[in-house]
Amino acid sequence: MTPILSLRHLCKTFRTAGHEVQALVDVSLDVAGGECLAIVGESGSGKSTLASLVLGLYPPTTGEILLEGRVLPATRTLVHRRAIQLVQQNPASALNPRRSIGASLRLALDVHGIGAPAERRSRVAALLADVGLSADLASRAPSALSGGQRQRVAIARALACGSRLVVLDEPTSALDVLVQAEVLRLLARLQAEHGLTYLFITHDLAVVRNIATRVAVFQRGRLVELAATEALFTDPRHPYTRRLMAAVPVITEEEKAMRDRLAWEDA
């Protein structure tokens, strides 16, 4: 089966006055339709660069990106933009504060010409219902919503044009733990119901273990380990992966034992 997304020898080098930064170095990987691939790494690992390249915000220096077997051009057309959607980390800045929730959702429908204009109001209500929000919220401003509600709106907007691939950039990092649990459940349900594929960018390994199908670990622009989630957590191979796991603050004895075992094996 053709992967929904393929990265082939992707490199991105940023040149500023005086020096070069290699943000991504020869990254190749496939994302299977319907999976949740976690992209894990610390700041400077290249995970956000990877997201920007997939979204087409800027072109790669070398290498290519294929969507369902077809090479994506450096300048994306409307159809390409519709196919890959984004949910950002901070829902407070992701939504236009001057636009009502309904107008933000409707904008996606208008831009991509989805449904007859007369039906769009009811589509907006359906989108809100899909993420567990009341249709009454459509007339509200983002500032009138809680952080969790805003993130649900951002997710609804990503779903508005029926794309199959969603890039989630730290979607729950800015949320409180009780709200995070709700949003993670929502993401898992939507993935199952709509057959979505997630590129889940995060630094939170505890979240990764419980939502991802596979995990790609990045360090300084290089893909250092790629494995199925269970395999990665039971037998992490790369020293950097092990170091990341050993640094996670944990709350149960069981988790502490797992971390101590990693540290002990490395000593």
Binding site: L178, A181, A206
Partner: protein, 288 residues
């Protein structure tokens, strides 16, 4: 003797729409050299508590405070403003969440450090301040002090800036350190190093710490005792081990249940938000 004792602290803001109660009578104590965590979600009142201790909120309009904050035997809420300000940055200091934005971007590190040292020693010469700053940077494992002192904050990494903030906060050997989500803005490996370093320093100097965080894992790693705060009320208090081993309050249990585990087990259940969250304080016995 306790370094800090807060008794029945109440805070409300008078707004045009009416009075908003933020703290509904919280009490907590920190013994000398003890590391105490105040853990809760955003809006629970944890950061505002630190700001009151530091005396930053008292100067705002429309703020109504009641209760006692006794620091080294003196009630901070009854001190005249001048004396209260003299305590800040000398005997009580604070580390904020984002190190890079807590440092002034238009000054190099050296003059900012000197300003901190001058709070306790006003007649310190520039040369002496620089020498002292270098010693303190050495304590936080920054070997290349000369280069760092001549740098601007944006030329240094987040981890480096956080170490500088820790060095500054401990520069005047405060009796109490308030740490508001330190390291949250940093990568996990750097965060772990930063916490280790902070723990070592406060143990060496016998500093008491009020550690404010929403991150249960970090609290477990750092604190001797923990207070869980929910909507302006302390709901559970006790030794950190006891609370994590046997959480008894409905809210604490919900927080723990909502935290995904690195050992797996699936996505956490969505804890039901219930009136039980507002149930009275549960206190664990102190370890014998």
């Amino acid at each position: 003797m306790n370094t800090l004792e807060i008794r029945d602290l109440r805070l409300s803001f008078r707004l045009p729409v009416g009075t908003v109660e933020v703290l509904h009578g919280i009490s907590l104590r920190i013994a000398r050299g003890e590391r105490v965590a105040l853990v809760g979600e955003s809006g629970s009142g944890k950061s505002v508590t630190a700001r009151i201790i530091l005396g930053l909120l008292q100067e705002q309009r429309g703020v109504r405070l009641a209760g006692d904050i006794v620091f080294q035997g003196r009630n901070l809420l009854r001190l005249p403003p001048r004396e209260r300000r003299a305590v800040r940055g000398t005997r009580i200091s604070m580390i904020f969440q984002d190190p890079t934005s807590s440092l002034n971007p238009v000054f190099r590190i050296a003059p900012q450090f000197r300003e901190v040292l001058a709070r306790a020693t006003p007649d310190l010469s520039e040369k002496a301040a620089r020498a002292r700053a270098a010693e303190l940077l050495d304590e936080v494992a920054i070997p290349d002090a000369a280069r760092v002192l001549d740098s601007y904050p944006f030329q240094l990494s987040g981890g480096m800036n956080q170490r500088i903030m820790i060095a500054m906060a401990l520069a005047n050997r405060p009796a109490l350190l308030l740490a508001d989500e330190p390291g949250t803005a940093l990568d996990v490996t750097i965060q772990a190093q930063t916490l280790d370093l902070m723990r070592k320093l406060v143990v060496d100097h016998g500093t008491s710490v009020l550690f404010i965080s929403h991150n249960l894992g970090v609290v477990r790693e750092f604190a001797d005792r923990t207070y869980v705060i929910y909507r302006g009320r302390i709901v559970e208090a006790g030794p950190t081990e006891a609370i994590f081993h046997d959480p008894r309050h409905a809210y604490t249990r919900a927080l723990m249940a909502a935290q995904p585990r690195i050992t797996g087990g699936g996505l956490p259940d969505i804890p039901e938000r219930s009136d039980d969250f507002l149930a009275p304080l549960i206190e664990h016995e102190a370890a014998p």
